[in-house]
C-alpha cells in the first residue's frame, strides 16, 4: 500500500492558512508599534501610515479609491453594514423606499440582516436559484420596483462555488430600480476573480481576510462614492464615520498584504488549483458510483468541488473522513457545530435528502498534489464502507 499523507485540508472556503508574508507584515504592529492610529504623536503616525497604506493597497486591487475602503471586523459585519446600513439610509431619505431584494443562496450574514430588516417593516424578496445554483434573473427582475432600496446578491456562492452575474444584476437594477444600491458579498471571490472588473458596476462589496491568506477577524466593505450608509457602530468617527472603533492595524496590514499577494499570483494559482480540483473531481467520478457534482454546468470558481454521494449522510461521511485526516465541510455549520441541511441547496431546488448527502471540498493557494492524492486514496474507500449496511 502506498504511503498516505497524514492529512489533507480541503476546507479552504471556510478558512485559509495565512500567507507567511501577511504574518511577517503584521508582526511589527503587534510587537513594536503601540500607537493608536488616531493619535497625534510619533507612535501613532507609524500605525496611521501603515493603516492608510493598507487602504491604498486594497483600493488598488479593488479598482476603487482609498477613501472608498471601510475596514470592518469581519465579512459578516461588512455584509450587515451594507444591507442594513443601505436600507436604513434609504428609508431615512424616503419612507417609500422599503424594498430589499436578495437571493435564497446568500450567506447567512446577508440573510440574517434581511430577516432583521423584514422585522422592521421592510419588504424582503428572496429570489431562488436554478438547479445549477445561479440566481434566477427573471425572478430577480420581477422582484424589483421603484421602491427597492437595497439589492444584495453574492459574487461567488460559498457552498457551490458558482459565480453569480452581479454586474448584469447591477445594470438591471439601474434600469428598473434606479434608487436601489447594489451590494455583493464577495467574500469567496478574491482568490479567484479580479475584483476590479468583477464588481465594476456594484456600489458595495464585502470581503473577509481569512478567505485569502489573511487573518480572521478583519473584513472590508468597499463603499463607492455616492453610496450613503447608516453605520452599525457609532463613536469616534473612524472609517469615515461608517465604523467606529480603533482599527485593528496589525490585522488590516496583514489583510492588505494577503490581498496584494493573492492578486499578484492569481493567474498562476488559479490555473494550478483548477487542475488539482479537476483531478479530484475526475478521480471521484471514476471511483465512486452515485456521485454527482453540483453546479457542474455553471461557471464555478477553481477551488470548489461541491458534490453529492447518494445514500451517504454527509454528517457521517465527514466524521469518517476527519478520522482519516481528510477535512471537508457540508452545508453551513451553525454555532453549535451541527450540520444543517444547506439552505443554498434547498434554494436550488435540491431535495432535502440529497442536500444532506452533499459535501464541499475546497482548495486554496496552499493546496498541493498530496492533498488530492490523500483524498482520492481515502474518500472512495470510506464512501464504500459507509454504504455497506
Amino acid at each position: 500500500m502506498p504511503d498516505r499523507p497524514d492529512h489533507a485540508y480541503l476546507d479552504h472556503a471556510a478558512s485559509t492558512p495565512m500567507r507567511p508574508e501577511a504574518i511577517a507584515a503584521m508582526t511589527p504592529f503587534l510587537a513594536d508599534h503601540p500607537g493608536n492610529p488616531s493619535g497625534a504623536h510619533g507612535a501613532s503616525r507609524a500605525t496611521k501610515t501603515a493603516l492608510e497604506e493598507a487602504r491604498e493597497t486594497v483600493a488598488a486591487v479593488c479598482g476603487c479609491q482609498p477613501q472608498e475602503v471601510v475596514f470592518t471586523g469581519s465579512g459578516s459585519e461588512a455584509d450587515n453594514l451594507a444591507v442594513k446600513g443601505g436600507a436604513w439610509e434609504a428609508r431615512a431619505h424616503d419612507p417609500r423606499l422599503d424594498g430589499v431584494v436578495t437571493s435564497g443562496i446568500e450567506h447567512k450574514a446577508v440573510l440574517g440582516a434581511c430577516d432583521r430588516l423584514e422585522s422592521e417593516g421592510f419588504r424582503v424578496a428572496r429570489v431562488p436559484a436554478n438547479g445549477d445554483g445561479v440566481v434566477d434573473l427573471d425572478a430577480l427582475a420581477r422582484a424589483l420596483d421603484d421602491r427597492t432600496a437595497v439589492v444584495s446578491v453574492m459574487l461567488v456562492n460559498n457552498e457551490t462555488g458558482v459565480r453569480q452575474p452581479i454586474n448584469e444584476i447591477a445594470r438591471l437594477v439601474r434600469n428598473v430600480a434606479p434608487r436601489a444600491v447594489v451590494h455583493t458579498d464577495a467574500v469567496q471571490a478574491p482568490q479567484w476573480l479580479d475584483l476590479a472588473s468583477a464588481t465594476a458596476d456594484v456600489c458595495l462589496v464585502a470581503m473577509s481576510g481569512h478567505k485569502f491568506g489573511g487573518p480572521k477577524g478583519v473584513g472590508a466593505l468597499i463603499v463607492r462614492a455616492g453610496t450613503e450608509l447608516v453605520p452599525l457602530v457609532e463613536g469616534g468617527g473612524h472609517e469615515r464615520g461608517l465604523r467606529a472603533g480603533t482599527q485593528n492595524v496589525a490585522g488590516i496590514v496583514a489583510f492588505a498584504t494577503a490581498l496584494r499577494i493573492t492578486h499578484g499570483r492569481r493567474a498562476e494559482d488559479t490555473a494550478r488549483i483548477a487542475a488539482l480540483r479537476d483531478e479530484l473531481e475526475r478521480g471521484l467520478a471514476a471511483q465512486v458510483s452515485g456521485f454527482a457534482v453540483n453546479g457542474a454546468s455553471a461557471a464555478r470558481v477553481s477551488g470548489i468541488l461541491h458534490c453529492t454521494f447518494d445514500g451517504v449522510e454527509a454528517e457521517t461521511l465527514l466524521l469518517a473522513l476527519d478520522q482519516q485526516g481528510v477535512m471537508a465541510a457540508s452545508g453551513s455549520a451553525c454555532s453549535s457545530g451541527a450540520v444543517d441541511p444547506s439552505h443554498v441547496l434547498l434554494a436550488m431546488g435540491m431535495p432535502r435528502e440529497r442536500a444532506l448527502s452533499s459535501v464541499r471540498f475546497s482548495l486554496g493557494y496552499a493546496s498541493t498534489h498530496a492533498d488530492i492524492d490523500a483524498a482520492l486514496a481515502i474518500v472512495p474507500e470510506v464512501v464504500a464502507k459507509l454504504r455497506v449496511t
Binding site: E313, Q323, S336, A338, P341, L386, T389
Partner: protein, 341 residues
C-alpha cells in the same frame, strides 16, 4: 483497542463516562446530539451544553463531533409526544429519545462507522448473565436510570457501555473534580429538554387545538371547567381550579368528551392496568411475581402479568396512559410496557 462512540450531553455524567472510557485505553470519540432547534433552557440542545461537551472532550483528549438529529427528533419524539397528549395520554419523551435517537440512530451510525460500542452517561449497568447481556440498576440506587432504558434488548446492550453506572453520583462528581472537568459541579437537568420549565401547556397549546370541557366529580356532578385536557395528567392534584373541601386528584380523562374526573386519593387506587407494546429482554423474569416500576425514580411494586393486564399485589395509584411500566427481577430490568388505558 475497542472503538467507542460516547454521547456527551454536556453534563457531568457523560463527561466522566468519556473520561473513564479513555482511561481504560479505549479509542473514544465524543458526539453531542443537536436534537432541538427551538427554545429550551436545559438538556441536550443548547450551544452552551455543546460547548461544555466539546471542551471536556478536548480536555480528555478525544475528538468531538456534533450530530444534527433535529429533523428526526421532531418526527420521532416531539410529534408523538404532542399526539399522545392530544389523545389524553402522558408520554415519556426521554424513553422515546433513548429508543429512537440514542440507541436507534446513533447506535446505527456508530455501527456504520465501525465503532464497537456506544456509551452514555446513564446511571445503569450492563451486566453479563447466562442469558447474555442484561440491563441492571445503577450502583447509586437514588440515581438509577434503568427505567428509561427498559426497552434495550440484548442486541443493543451487547453494543452499549454505561461506565458511570458503577459509580455513585458523588463519585462521578469527585472524579470530574479530580480531572478538573468544567462540568464537575454542573446542576442536573430534570425537565423535558425541549420545553422550558413551566411552559408545557403553552408548548402544547401552540401545537394542539385546545378544547374546553367540564371537570366532574365521581358522581358526574360538574364542579368546574377547563381549557384543554392536555393540562391534566392522571394523579395530578395541583392546578385543578376546583375548590372543594378535601384534596382532589385527577382520576380519569375522557378524550372524547374532554371531561376530566376528579376524586379523592382512594379513587386513584387500582389493582389492574392494561399494557401495550410489552417487550421482554432476553433475561425474562417470572411474570407471576415481578417488581414493577411506573415512574423514573418510583418505588417498585409487586405485580403479575395476566395476559396484557398487569395485576398489582396491592392496590396501586393509577398510572397515566402512555407511561412506562418497567419490569424487574431484583436488580435486573427484564422489560416493560406502556400503560394502554
Amino acid at each position: 483497542m475497542p472503538r467507542v462512540m460516547v454521547m456527551m450531553s454536556g453534563g457531568v455524567d457523560s463527561s466522566v463516562a468519556a473520561a473513564l472510557l479513555h482511561e481504560r485505553g479505549h479509542d473514544v470519540t465524543g458526539v453531542t446530539l443537536k436534537l432541538w432547534g427551538g427554545e429550551s433552557d436545559s438538556g441536550c440542545c443548547s450551544v452552551a451544553d455543546v460547548e461544555d461537551a466539546r471542551r471536556v472532550a478536548a480536555q480528555v483528549g478525544i475528538p468531538h463531533y456534533v450530530f444534527n438529529f433535529s429533523d428526526a427528533f421532531e418526527a420521532d419524539v416531539v410529534e408523538p409526544y404532542v399526539d399522545a397528549y392530544a389523545a389524553g395520554e402522558t408520554p415519556n419523551p426521554c424513553v422515546e429519545c433513548n429508543r429512537t435517537m440514542k440507541f436507534g440512530r446513533v447506535l446505527e451510525r456508530a455501527r456504520r462507522l465501525g465503532y464497537d460500542f456506544v456509551a452514555t452517561g446513564h446511571h445503569a449497568r450492563v451486566v453479563l448473565t447466562d442469558d447474555g447481556p442484561a440491563l441492571a440498576r445503577a450502583a447509586d440506587r437514588a440515581k438509577d436510570q434503568s427505567y428509561v432504558l427498559y426497552m434495550l434488548g440484548a442486541e443493543e446492550l451487547a453494543r452499549t457501555l454505561l461506565p458511570v453506572g458503577e459509580l455513585t453520583k458523588a463519585e462521578v462528581r469527585a472524579h470530574a473534580r479530580a480531572l478538573g472537568l468544567r462540568t464537575a459541579d454542573k446542576r442536573e437537568s430534570m425537565d423535558v429538554c425541549f420545553i422550558k420549565r413551566g411552559e408545557r401547556e403553552a408548548f402544547l397549546g401552540a401545537r394542539i387545538p385546545r378544547r374546553s370541557g367540564a371537570i366532574v366529580d365521581e358522581q358526574g356532578v360538574i364542579v368546574g371547567t377547563h381549557d384543554g385536557i392536555d393540562a391534566f395528567t392522571i394523579g395530578q392534584r395541583r392546578g385543578l381550579g376546583v375548590a372543594v373541601g378535601e384534596r382532589r386528584y385527577v382520576t380519569d380523562i375522557a378524550v372524547g368528551t374532554a371531561t376530566v374526573t376528579v376524586g379523592p386519593r382512594d379513587a386513584l387506587l387500582h389493582e389492574r392496568v392494561r399494557l401495550r407494546d410489552v417487550r421482554w429482554s432476553r433475561t425474562r423474569c417470572d411474570a407471576r411475581a415481578m417488581l414493577v416500576q411506573s415512574r423514573a425514580h418510583g418505588t417498585p411494586a409487586i405485580a403479575r402479568l395476566d395476559g396484557d393486564e398487569l395485576v398489582f399485589a396491592w392496590p396501586h395509584p393509577r398510572v397515566a396512559p402512555g407511561q412506562v411500566v418497567a419490569f424487574y427481577d431484583g436488580d435486573l430490568c427484564c422489560g416493560g410496557g406502556i400503560v394502554a388505558d
